[in-house]
Subunit: 441 residues, 2 copies
Amino acid sequence: MASSLGRLSGSRWGSAALGRGCRRPCARPPDSAAGRFGGAGPGQTRGLGYGGGTRGVGGGGRARRAPWLVAGLAAGLAGMAAASLQHLARADMVPRTEGASGVSERADELALRCNSFMAHPVTALSELRARPGDMKTQMELLIMETQAQVCKALAQLDRGAGFSVDRWERKEGGGGISCVLQDGQVFEKAGVSVSVVHGSLSEEAIKQMRSRGKVLKTKNGQLPFCAMGVSSVIHPKNPHAPTFHFNYRYFEIEEADGNKQWWFGGGCDLTPTYLNQEDAVHFHKTLKDACDQHDPSFYPKFKKWCDDYFVIKHRGERRGIGGIFFDDLDSPSKEDVFRFVQSCARAVVPSYIPLVKKHCNDPFTPQEKQWQQLRRGRYVEFNLLYDRGTKFGLFTPGSRIESILMSLPLTARWEYMHAPSKNSKEAEILEILHHPKDWVH
Amino acid sequence: MASSLGRLSGSRWGSAALGRGCRRPCARPPDSAAGRFGGAGPGQTRGLGYGGGTRGVGGGGRARRAPWLVAGLAAGLAGMAAASLQHLARADMVPRTEGASGVSERADELALRCNSFMAHPVTALSELRARPGDMKTQMELLIMETQAQVCKALAQLDRGAGFSVDRWERKEGGGGISCVLQDGQVFEKAGVSVSVVHGSLSEEAIKQMRSRGKVLKTKNGQLPFCAMGVSSVIHPKNPHAPTFHFNYRYFEIEEADGNKQWWFGGGCDLTPTYLNQEDAVHFHKTLKDACDQHDPSFYPKFKKWCDDYFVIKHRGERRGIGGIFFDDLDSPSKEDVFRFVQSCARAVVPSYIPLVKKHCNDPFTPQEKQWQQLRRGRYVEFNLLYDRGTKFGLFTPGSRIESILMSLPLTARWEYMHAPSKNSKEAEILEILHHPKDWVH
């Protein structure tokens, strides 16, 4: 339950907005790290880039504005590089204990890398630094980096939108960072969330894993685990710009006899309101290229897995035109699978963002908007009725409900007995949802 | 799956509209039954009352208009009695085999009673007539009557709205009648559905019943059953008019040794967007009065059951301000429990309709509408994640998906991290959803 979550400080969740004035590559200089790692106090503003674009999240009357601490920034106002986005971070979400290490971090490659993230990694820098070769460290840095790249690409497309960055702690162990852009010009809702959690697996989780064929030796019913991942759902406003989802995750468990199991899972899939063949081919081709770098059998296998997974069973239709999906990937080696996941994560922006760029200003009719809203309804049906991750999250004590349900669209619609007319554009996409096709060979 | 459902005839579901011109009590004369029971062909119009208010359901471009058969109607255009509503029934939904019995039905009390229904009962009249004292007959007539009373009350409030009446068959045995009013002036969406199904219980259903403590002796895993019920969800447009749900059902199963088990279940609950104490008291008092006629322990017991059932667990909040809920009621006798259920069913209109009448023209702000939409989102969460009936229906082969999901609102909204401000009207209702209270003593 949300109420069981620890908060770093303050009576509200930390929140931040992306500066909308930033127009050119603006690498943060080393000394700016001090600002982010605790050098400045609440209310102080450092650097440029705060263009007044802060939009309170939450609506509904509650004032959510607060004193902001603007992350340090070099200069420049013409263009924004994905790798160097400035951002605002609420002062009270920065653990003060880290502040003292500001000087050493300046010379620290890890700290420099972290500067491009949306927030501190979930794990303390000192711990990450102590185990640089460990897969947990590598994966946490990859998911933080992916979150930042995607958020920056979104912010670049939707400059006026407020972007909240919430850091949360899980009482049972670990925490996460949720970045959400809501009701912007381009995006209806876009969430990119990172979580790094550990503790002992719930019975429900063990049951779910065993149902997938995993042999797990528990001790007094306990199974220590560490799980981390980045997940995202992006709903653009324009009905001709598709909805997108991705998730990449890493799992480690320690069995009763000390044996350690590990695996990776993830995937991404596209949910267009209307079919655009060119978009579908671009999306799948980008994924295939990422897969083919590692194993030519991956794309066809994981494409089919995706088609089989994202099914709204009671409707007999898929939620979208697919992508890739895999789970329990644990061979040939951690490093090999990590490199594959890294390629997938790096394909996120190039596979999707060009499609939004292309369509975000397309003209559309009220009927097209309405069809989009009906498809949003189907998205909700899938997520609440079938999505393993959503259900697993909602039924796991200590989960952060808002981070799980940020995948739901801002608005959705259900009409009784709606069916598109024959040979319409609506019928065309429905046909594909009933009979998925191969987009690349 | 919807695709496995039989359709009576035609390529579209049957659909009907309530005449909006009807303004006075207009009892259908006996001879009008011929029209409803199959006397006239498609395209023929009989009687008065078709005021052009037919609205195609489905929207989205598909032409859903069709030749209509207007049910016979006496005269009169000033006022509409709940007990005598005229309605239009699509010709092709009327089984022709019944047509031949038109003459004998004229003198038949049962046929006369059926004339006030929204459509033929699911079970053939000849079968109902053959077992007049059987509980299955009594209950089917009660649920048909309840459906008609509620639909008529809704139509009286929302005169310009199209009302579809769909009759459907279940391949595995039985069928139902779904009446849906969508996007009217007063109601955003209101569905009242009757189903009468029989066959052999699915494994999933047996498991669910056993989990409630039922001892069920199967033979080769088979368990013949008959289930019938009326269920409804009504979402008004005005955020000051509450959403309402009710469901009353009867179950019979035959065990391997020939032993027959039976039970009733049901309840109703109110989901206001804003708290109105007077409404809450009226609603609960009407239910309490219905309960108290039968057993003074019923209301407190079933009120608590309702509070405990309609919980959105991951939010730690109830979906509304409750009502009554009961299941597995199987003593002291079929007749006693039936009379109690009958009182509950007859309390539906007086408990709820006055509240809509009172508030359907209340002024409201865009913020109030938005809060309503957010609460609609919570309604969707409950229905898809927790509602036993919805899940049972969706996962049961042969179910009619559209009739199950007609409970979903026309539109809903999810905002990340929404929370109402302190001491607001929104916070007031949330407080009640977290801590249900007693409305009558």
